[in-house]
């Protein structure tokens, strides 16, 4: 095994071009587990912790360009205003030690269906900035997840950043697990209100081969909220609408039975979380107040 230590981003790209099988490592919270357990013996480890720009973020108008290796702890401390859904999701990641090292870029690279960032990115709207010596491309996050632990990166590409749309309304995140720390999601649900476009977007985690949006549920809810003139009046979401939204969110799942939970439980729980996150976010939207609740 070789340990590559690029000091600059251009060197990292050159190294990845030369060694496409090299495994990028930053916080190590996934990669080191695989190595410690002998599940993976890459020919090269590509250490990105010396590439300082990966640990920075920039204001990009209506988006935040979040460096791939910015730890979850920074997202929580510094970006909860612009990216509230992602910050909520980040709070549920692992433990303080893990949040000090793990990053959204790592979550995307690993592309586990259970990654906590994914539902929040899907609900907020995001694009992955992938770069290689051949150039840069932006991949809509919906198209980034291609299968269980598979993503749309080409072998010579690295994740430079993720561009996340700044919140224009309340965002919520809910996750089912056995305790409040060190939990891989049994399932998770994120919801973002976008009052500027009068739309609601969603993200489901750990209840399908990839993270997914509940598009049919979104379409139904967007039409129902428009028809009931809820955006104009600030009236509560009609219970029948919320119930149908929850049913459609549940139907968007393609879960499996595994050690963390059964498929039937996941389907049920996603429906419950869809209904609750909608109620919380809508209440915040109409009262202008934040809610602090246990999800």
């Amino acid at each position: 095994m070789d340990f590559l230590r690029p000091a600059r981003w251009e060197e990292a790209l050159a190294a990845k071009a030369e060694h496409p099988a090299a495994v990028p490592i930053a916080g190590g919270t996934d990669v080191m587990v695989e190595i410690n357990f002998d599940h993976r013996r890459p020919s090269h480890l590509l250490d990105l912790t010396r590439v300082t720009e990966l640990y920075t973020w920039q204001d990009a108008g209506d988006r935040v360009r979040l460096g791939a290796a910015v730890p979850y702890a920074r997202v929580i401390e510094r970006l909860a205003g612009e990216l509230p859904g992602l910050a909520l999701a980040a709070r549920t990641v692992g433990s303080p030690q893990i949040r000090n090292r793990g990053s959204v870029g790592g979550n995307l690279g690993a592309a586990s269906p259970a990654g906590d960032s994914h539902p929040a990115l899907l609900a907020a709207g995001a694009e992955v900035e992938a770069e290689s010596v051949r150039g840069t491309r932006l991949i809509p996050v919906e198209e980034f997840y291609t299968g269980v632990k598979r993503n749309a990166l080409a072998p010579d590409e690295l994740i430079r950043a993720v561009h996340v749309r700044k919140a224009t309304g309340p965002q919520q995140f809910s996750k089912v697990g056995t305790r409040n720390a060190m939990v891989i999601a049994v399932c998770a649900f994120a919801l973002a209100l976008h009052p500027d476009t009068r739309t609601v977007r969603t993200g489901i985690g750990s209840a399908a081969p990839t993270p997914v949006r509940a598009r049919t549920a979104e379409d139904f809810l967007n039409a129902a909220l428009a028809e009931a003139r809820c955006w104009d009046t600030g009236a509560p979401v009609p219970p029948a609408v919320a119930a149908e939204f929850a049913r459609l969110a549940s139907a968007a799942c393609r879960p499996i039975d595994d050690v963390r939970g059964s498929a039937a439980y996941r389907r049920h729980a996603v429906g419950v979380m869809a209904r609750r996150t909608l109620a919380w976010a809508w209440e915040q939207h109409t009262t202008g107040e934040g809610t602090a609740r246990c999800a």
């Binding site: 095994m1 070789d2 340990f3 230590r5 490592i25 916080g27 190590g28 919270t29 080191m32 587990v33 190595i35 410690n36 357990f37 013996r41 480890l45 250490d47 912790t49 692992g94 433990s95 303080p96 030690q97 893990i98 000090n100 090292r101 409040n180 720390a181 060190m182």
Partner: protein
Amino acid sequence: MRVNVTVNGRPRQADDVWEGESLLYLLRERLGLPGSKNACEQGECGSCTVRLDGVPVCACLVAAGQAHGRDVVTVEGLAARAGAAEGHLSPVQQAFVDAGAVQCGFCTPGLLVAADDLLERDPDPSDADIREALSGNLCRCTGYEKILDAVRLAAARTARSGQGA
């Protein structure tokens, strides 16, 4: 590969480090510092918690090569770092002893490093803050109550000595 790293204030060097090796292995097996414990090797238990450039991390999830040129503090360095005299414990360590927060002792080094970091950031943490700060450290003996007592005790003693100074 060769790794140069500052551990508990001292520059250390290790040769023939395997590229897939963890910082935990480097500390325990090559640098003779077995204080950080090796249990889960997947970041679940916190027994290997050390400070890397001041930040608490699981040493089992840091590649040894990533620690090159960095600063590491382990449980072995807590007393000196707190200015304790040779052979004496740091305030957090002493509080763990006095509160009976140590049973089998396996989780203790990680808890000490995590608690030390908490009290450095927040000398007067609430119970919720303590629980959150220690949420990544598993203990299978004590049920955590005495560990929480110890952190409260260390905070109270530090506040008292601060007032007395």
